[in-house]
Amino acid sequence: MKKFWRVDTKALVGGVLLGIVFMLVQQISHRIDSLFSPAVMIMGGITWATFTALGALLFGQPSGIIVGETQALVANASGLSPVALFFFLANGLGSFSYSLVSHRLSMEKWSHHLLAQIVANLVGNACVLLGLITVLKLPPTAAIISSVITCTAGIIGATVLTKLVYDNLKRSRLLDISY
């Protein structure tokens, strides 16, 4: 019953609300990051990847992209994430690439989640990396190291977190709705 393309009201509205939650959780993650890894996003990377995955899993596309773009919009409008400029591309492409993988798999196994996260994190962090180097003129070495750390944390951490959250949501029967 998994649909790739969903434009029903539940998906659209759910995408917006999850996008707002995404932004709120990113604020918490950034605060944690600022305490023990100010120069690198570790918690931020994990939660970015988790919500990118959840948006695609719960609502398909284009709502998965709506989740990401809502977060990017709020992040930029609030001024609370200076590098949020790059999130528009990273979030959209990251979500879409996650969907391309997850749509073909049952997403019941850990390996399915891991594979989808690898693809999404590589795509998303590549977008941010491009921006950091071309726009902010960060030294490529520094930018690559930072992106690799964020990407690795995102892949491992978000695989675990996404599966935990997704399994909990399935048990809650909140996903038993028509579309």
């Binding site: 909990n168 048990r171 809650s172 029967r173 038993d176 709705i177 028509s178």
Partner: protein, 483 residues
């Protein structure tokens, strides 16, 4: 008008929720659908309005027709042209930036002209007495205002059928009366067909023409209003009587012999001591100016007052969630807190995990955890559902679960905010009994409640919070008027 033949309905999990239903509701009738929690009331109205199967999945073996049209062949937006359906959460039925825009939302979707929309909106707002709310943001409205505006946002569309699922669940008795009077007036003036799901059917005795009682997914009673009210004992059916002082409604048990707990001002140190408390939120003037309060062992103290008086704020100060600006809040013992909205704390994958969570955090031994969790789940009568996810429970059951998470910590003081809100009669009785036993064992309860029966039956003391100050009032189930 409405013809429903439902042989069975089950959710994807396989539980059969409705069975053997044959319902005919003629045009212009006012029908109340009632029953205990879990009897299938909400599921039934969702079938009658097309929400099932268009929005919620399940296996529906049957057919529902409105004026001869099969609902399964129409989309929900198409059904909305002649039938209004309002669910249980009015705050999620207003989603525009102002109340006026919310009123205009429905007619706008039906492509009415702007002039027509303005005319209808003015009428609807005036009808519910909400004209002065037009420019307000919906999330700044009180519970009663939200309910009235939500109702207006449906009636503005001018449908012939109005279906409401527990429209007054969180309101106080006065608010409920206002909303039901509005609905009845509309029914009379416009000859609407009205279907209301209500846990307290007696409140609609003078308004409705017919009552349907559900039990375990079946209709067990289908009778005219007069016959229903005279032939059946609502308490025996597990349905609430009218809100009035009725000490027999709650029959808290006496403490066991030899365990009579003395309580009151004469006996030892208070468990809760509030001295010269000053508090205000940042940027606002002080909410409390030099409040004093004492709660002793075994006491149940009710906190009364109008909306916005600061009852929940005071409870949070005592619970340690907020810190006073000046003054002292001393609590001798651990506190357990039951919030008005239990959903904000539930996240476990099962009831058992949910209740055990705080104990695991304290590194209590697994045996002790097992013992306490099982005991508490039995107290709240959810032990059969220990493996279920909290969100699969009804709202009343989730409230009981939240109470269990507070009780499992074996607190000395329980702070409870609207403990019977959203509960049916049997669940409310259970909560009253639990509180009675708790206080008999020496625990204290600070209770915020709009339930006069509960306040009268349980409270040793009551305080009215108004204008930043506290004064003691009689805990007799009446709510003092405030200027």
């Amino acid at each position: 008008m409405i013809k429903a033949i439902i042989k069975s309905f089950s959710y994807p999990t396989g539980n059969v929720v409705l069975r053997d239903m044959d319902i005919h509701i003629p045009a212009g009738e006012f029908v109340v659908i009632t029953g205990t929690s879990g009897s299938g009331k909400s599921t039934l109205v969702q079938c009658l309005t097309g929400v099932i199967p268009h929005f919620i999945r399940g296996d529906l073996d049957g057919k529902v027709e409105i004026k001869g049209r099969d609902l399964s062949s129409l989309s929900l937006p198409a059904i909305s042209r002649f039938m209004a359906y309002a669910g249980q959460e009015p705050q999620n039925q207003l989603f525009n930036l102002t109340v006026y825009e919310d009123m205009a939302f429905g007619p706008g979707n039906l492509c009415l002209s702007r002039d027509e929309i303005h005319t209808r909106v003015e009428w609807a707002l005036n009808f519910v007495g909400g004209r002065h709310l037009a420019g307000r943001q919906p999330d700044t409205l009180s519970g009663g205002e939200t309910q009235r505006c939500a109702l207006a946002s449906y009636i503005v569309m001018g449908q012939e059928v109005l279906v409401l699922d527990q429209p007054c669940r969180e309101l106080d008795p006065e608010g409920r009366k206002m909303v039901y009077d509005n609905i009845y007036q509309l029914h009379r003036e416009k000859c609407l067909t009205v279907v209301v799901v209500e846990d307290r059917p007696a409140e609609l005795a003078g308004l409705a023409g017919r009552f349907l009682v559900l039990d375990d997914g079946k209709i067990v009673i289908d009778d005219e209003a007069a016959a229903f009210m005279s032939h059946y004992n609502l308490a025996e059916l597990g349905l609430s009587p009218l809100y009035k002082s009725c000490p027999e409604h709650f029959s808290p048990s006496a403490p066991p012999k030899g365990q009579q707990k003395k309580c009151g001002a004469d006996h030892g140190e208070p468990l809760v001591q509030v001295e010269e408390l000053w508090f205000g939120y940042k940027g606002d003037s002080f909410l409390f100016r030099g409040l004093n309060l004492q709660v002793f062992s075994g006491e149940v103290v009710s906190l009364l007052g109008p909306n916005g008086a600061g009852k929940t704020t005071l409870a949070k100060l005592i619970g340690g969630i907020l810190k006073p600006v000046k003054g002292v809040v001393k609590v001798n013992g651990t506190t357990g807190y039951l919030f008005q909205n239990p959903d904000q704390q539930l996240f476990g994958s099962s009831l058992w995990d949910e209740v055990a969570f705080a104990l695991k955090r304290r590194r209590i031994s697994p045996d002790e955890i097992e013992k306490r969790v099982n005991r508490v789940l039995e107290i709240v009568r959810l032990n059969d559902l220990a493996g279920a996810h909290p969100y699969t429970l009804s709202r009343g059951q989730r409230k009981l679960l939240a109470l269990a998470t507070a009780l499992v910590m074996e607190p000395a003081i329980l702070i409870v905010d609207e403990p019977t809100g959203g509960l049916d009669c049997r669940q409310a009785d259970l909560v009253a009994e639990i509180f009675t036993q708790f206080s008999h064992r020496g625990g204290s309860i600070l209770m915020i409640s709009h339930d006069p029966d509960l306040v009268k039956a349980l409270s040793r003391k009551a305080f009215l919070l108004h204008g930043g100050s506290l004064r003691e009032v009689k805990p007799d189930g009446t709510f003092p008027a405030v200027s």
